[in-house]
């Protein structure tokens, strides 16, 4: 078969969604985040589609905003923020952003970079931490969580989603971008991207940890989320730019909304499989 692939998976000893082997991979690149043409160039150009995706999804859910500062008043948690590539544009759009990343060097880079812009320095706070570590002090604190290019690196995805739910306000939004687990994503996302063209630093991704959208959707729905949007994404290495596409077979983005109050879900959803523990939705309840 095409996939003669042996992945050694380090099992984390603590109950954490952070994988220490993953951390080591990023350690060496901690200072290279902000080189727009360097190792992280594909992430820089991903902003061109993921920022509008987040922005427009949020604007579509409310009528109270100003086009000059569209995300003003929105509290966002950027999980796995790295050097702050996504936190900064969200901050520029007016949001109050908390960026967390388990790697201290990333946080240092991110803090350094935002420090030169007084507006951003105030709007964004970075913290070296895992998601679990902030849950206690941040229950239902955030309007939005973004976990972009993160879930393919976490050790325990279900726990990650549960923590997201805990720190998110009811009806808050969760945005995830990640990589599907298909033959195509192995070829394009690992072989071509890492080994052939080198647009992703080698060893960044392990195909075993890629997450198919069906599974992500199942995990989300069974943990109190309702999935609103799933979009496929495609990277063009020649132009260095991302675009949306129908198929989710390589990269994709997902927008899910946490249900309103305890045990209620939005009447506009179709819930494919609802786990038994969840109390059933009450018909006609406004969310």
């Amino acid at each position: 078969s095409l996939l003669r692939f042996t992945a050694k998976r380090l099992f984390s000893t603590s109950h954490s969604s952070v994988d220490s082997k993953e951390m080591k991979k990023f350690q060496l690149l901690a200072h290279k985040w902000w080189d727009e043409e360097g190792e992280f160039s594909a992430l820089h150009s991903m902003n061109d589609i993921r920022v509008p995706f987040i922005r427009d999804s949020l604007l579509n859910m409310t009528s109270n905003y100003h086009l000059g500062k569209p995300l003003s008043g929105v509290k966002i948690l950027d999980v796995g923020c790295g050097g702050g590539l996504l936190s900064e544009p969200l901050g520029r759009l007016g949001a109050s952003v908390t960026g967390i990343d388990p790697l201290e060097d990333n946080i240092r880079t991110a803090d350094q970079h935002k420090s030169f812009d007084p507006v951003l320095a105030k709007r964004i706070q970075y913290k070296s931490s895992s998601l679990e570590e902030i849950v206690e002090e941040s229950m239902e604190t955030f309007d939005v969580i973004v976990a972009s290019e993160v879930v393919e690196h976490v050790a325990d995805l279900e726990m990650f989603i549960k923590c997201c739910s805990q720190v998110l306000k009811p009806e808050g939004s969760l945005f995830i971008t990640t990589i599907n687990k298909t033959q195509l994503s192995y070829v394009l996302g690992v072989v071509v991207a890492e080994k052939i063209i080198g647009i992703v630093p080698e060893g960044t991704h392990e195909w075993e940890k890629f997450v198919p959208p069906e599974e992500l959707e199942r995990l989300l729905e069974s943990n109190g989320f309702s999935v609103k949007t799933v979009n496929g994404m495609l990277y063009n290495p020649l132009s260095g730019s991302w675009s949306w596409m129908e198929s989710t077979s390589v990269n994709y983005a997902m927008h899910a909304v946490k249900s309103g109050a305890e045990g209620q879900s939005s009447p506009t959803d179709a819930l494919p499989e609802v786990e038994g523990e969840q109390p059933s939705a009450t018909a006609g309840t406004a969310v």
Partner: protein
């Protein structure tokens, strides 16, 4: 591990060693930070002021801080002075649309402007001519005094004073550029030093400081430039008798084109491009002789030769066989009676084109990016076109939360504008050279070319 830490701490060594083309960076450490702007426009002429005003009125820039640096004093008036200014521009409908998008065109209309419906361009060495006219009764363009445009722009800048800070009497004397992917302890912004010692920082510097652009020079952007052996003589003229005066006239003399641009029913503006010596002569002579020269330039046929006239006539009859309406009657421009005293002036002409319009955190617009001969009346319109394009990209970038100085969207602006500008600039330069000769073959070429162009609607519409 310590090895890993050593690698990470040694990031100074690991930082990409790119060839630095710019002046050495003065390390900006923890001195009291100079005020930081999102955009600084250097140069408060028509193009610079319009750029600042467009951004100031853009909804996505509502939250941003913009500064406009102008070396000269503030210019404004509520009422137009009785006499006309001798510096006028031909404003295309596209430019008028841009100006109305942020409310400046209304002010222009309430001050003073002259729409024109028709343009006649003809050769001194032959009968060939071309007439531009819109089929619908729309205006082809507008002749507006530069002072009027400036007054309108100043008013619209005042309207957004909470977002746009204008620094009058402020000349920028030095620029310090950041490295593209900045290493940790140096400021990522462009540092600007003013003549009075004040300093500013900006995320994006827009150079609108004219054809001798300091921004362009300091950014070490190569400029292809050429000084024409010509100066333009400008003056405000009064016509012998009142007329509708809604035609712009331009005649190509061997020494250079002479143009009469309508200001009112009784006044027109002169733009006469000619050799430096002739220009000085024209300025020195008494007013009556000056007026005589102008009339003679438009009316006299002394440069015709029989050969050319015959060849031209033959071509014209050939065209009329194919396309009966393809030749129009040549009208004669109004005759000039006198010139406004003190309104005569001259300035040297040249062409220029910057090889790059953008760099990291820098963009050039207007004459700083491209300079053309006035014969096509395009100069300021190209600048306004730059503004429309750059503002469009910056607005989208702002709405995406992007770093405004990022080359990604700046390059899109450069590509779009260079694609549009280069062919036009080259064409204007070719026209200038083509019409600077009496040599029969070239005259014949341009005669036939002009006649053919006149007869072909699709070509004319594109122009």
């Amino acid at each position: 591990t310590s090895a890993v830490m050593a690698v990470v701490c040694g990031r100074g060594l690991l930082a990409p060693l790119r060839g630095r083309l710019r002046a050495p960076l003065r390390s900006v450490t923890a001195a009291p930070a100079a005020p930081l702007y999102d955009v600084v426009v250097s140069g408060g002429g028509m193009v610079g002021s319009a750029m600042a005003a467009v951004l100031g009125h853009d909804i996505h820039f509502h939250d941003k801080k913009i500064a406009l640096l102008e070396a000269g004093p503030r210019k404004e008036y509520d009422r137009v002075p009785d006499s006309y200014s001798n510096r006028v521009s031909s404003i295309s409908p596209g430019s008028a649309t841009l100006l109305s998008s942020f409310g400046a065109w209304d002010h222009v209309c309430s001050l003073r402007l002259k729409p024109f419906r028709r343009m006649q361009v003809w050769d001194a060495c032959s009968e060939a001519m071309i007439v531009f006219e819109k089929d619908d009764l729309d205006d082809m363009g507008y002749i507006v005094e530069n002072d009027v445009i400036m007054a309108a722009l100043t008013k619209q800048l005042d309207a957004v004073a909470d977002r746009v800070e204008v620094f009058y009497g402020s000349r920028a004397v030095g620029y310090t550029w950041p490295l593209p992917s900045h290493s940790c302890d140096t400021s990522p912004w462009v540092q600007i030093e003013l003549a009075d010692g004040r300093r500013l920082q900006t995320k994006l510097l827009i150079g609108a400081d004219g054809h001798n652009s300091v921004v362009r020079k300091e950014a070490a952007i190569k400029n292809i430039e050429h000084r024409y052996d010509q100066s333009a003589v400008v003056a405000t003229l009064h016509l012998s008798e009142a007329t509708d005066n809604n035609v712009a006239w331009q005649r190509f003399l061997p020494t250079g084109p002479i143009a009469l641009l309508p200001l009112s029913d009784t006044a027109s503006s002169l733009v006469w491009s000619t050799s430096h010596e002739h220009a000085s002569e024209l300025l020195a002579m008494d007013e009556e002789s000056f007026v005589d020269r102008i009339n003679s330039a438009f009316w006299s046929n002394v440069n015709h030769s029989d050969f050319i006239d015959t060849a031209g006539a033959m071509f014209r009859s050939a065209i009329s066989l194919l396309k009966p309406s393809g030749t129009a009657v040549r009208q004669l421009p109004p005759s000039v009676a006198k010139v406004d005293p003190e309104s005569r002036a001259m300035f040297p002409l040249g062409m220029g084109h910057a090889t790059e319009y953008v760099q990291h955190r820098v963009a050039l617009i207007g004459d700083a990016a491209h300079r053309v001969h006035p014969l096509a009346g395009q100069g300021v319109n190209l600048g306004f076109g730059d503004i429309a394009c750059l503002a469009h990209h910056l607005s989208a970038a702002a709405f995406n939360g992007s770093d405004l100085g990022s080359l990604k969207h700046l390059l899109k602006f450069e590509t779009e504008r260079q694609r549009h500008n280069v062919s036009l600039i080259a064409a204007i330069d070719v026209l200038k050279r083509l019409y600077s000769t009496r040599l029969a073959p070239l005259v014949l070429l341009r005669t036939w070319g002009l006649q053919a162009t006149n007869a072909l609607p699709p070509v004319k519409v594109r122009i």
